[in-house]
Symmetry: C3
Subunit: 132 residues, 3 copies
Amino acid sequence: MPLVRIDAPAAPDDALLALGEAVHLALVEAFGIPEDDRFQVLHGATGGQVVYDAGYLGITRDEGVAFVQVFLRRGRTDEQKRLFYRSLAQRAVTAGFEARNLVVTLTENGLGDWSFGEGAAQYLDDPPPGAR
Amino acid sequence: MPLVRIDAPAAPDDALLALGEAVHLALVEAFGIPEDDRFQVLHGATGGQVVYDAGYLGITRDEGVAFVQVFLRRGRTDEQKRLFYRSLAQRAVTAGFEARNLVVTLTENGLGDWSFGEGAAQYLDDPPPGAR
Amino acid sequence: MPLVRIDAPAAPDDALLALGEAVHLALVEAFGIPEDDRFQVLHGATGGQVVYDAGYLGITRDEGVAFVQVFLRRGRTDEQKRLFYRSLAQRAVTAGFEARNLVVTLTENGLGDWSFGEGAAQYLDDPPPGAR
């Protein structure tokens, strides 16, 4: 379900894919999404121009910055979100990114706001476990 | 009002435009938006890299996948959303896409969250019929 | 905090950056965000294809159209949003855009939905003044 958008202008294609993998694994770990629930749009050097503040909230960012935007259904707690950010940071470092360069934002919606093909509203027909 | 983002890396420009038209007509049919309320950003082959699971929820997807993201104001029912997905799937097939390849997500906001030019908040000044 | 996405296919790079600056200054003025809270993804001529209605709500738009999408935390009033649209329109004109060509939309989320690096949820640890 999550739809992930990544903008990381300095990342070569393989690093971009590795960051996408890191985001996915962190979503599985922190939010318990199925391992095959993966949908991402990745923009690297040929994407948009990225503007960032190099010091907001006392964190030093540079041209290696990566914006990660996740659209997902409502229902995760703040503690799960904290875990997601921590898990993503650790995994992104393994993928060659720096934890200081990750800017992450979540946007939530409802069960009726997803269709995974064939014109159906799968989460209305058959809600995921624990969904509310 | 809806702002539509489409990412369909395998679609030539004319197919991309046809999918945009399909989305628009489905929005008109299912949500009753005005026919001239159309704002879309379409990314094809030169857009981002798209990652998708080829079998999530038992639906087979391939490189013809198209992500459709719709930002719209709150107020549509689940039944209207079901109709939107069905209508879009039918129209997208006519446009040369396969219904199994459509991944659609909605994100809602409020009447104060839109400006259509001239620095005004048109939906606050003059709410659309039925808006809440 | 706001994450800003701009799509303005007719804008050269310097105009695009100037529009980004106009959006940022309007966010500072209307919503009171910190001056160093700036994160933007800007797409110009090499971005997606933009489809727009040339007359919706009686406003004439042309190929100079610019879509501005702002993701921000909840808590701003309708009056603040009105001020944002007005301020942005005035500043965008100075940047070489026409007020009639601006299509703006906001999408809100919560304090737990942001991480600005290092794997932390900074707005949960230390909420911004006035946040709710």
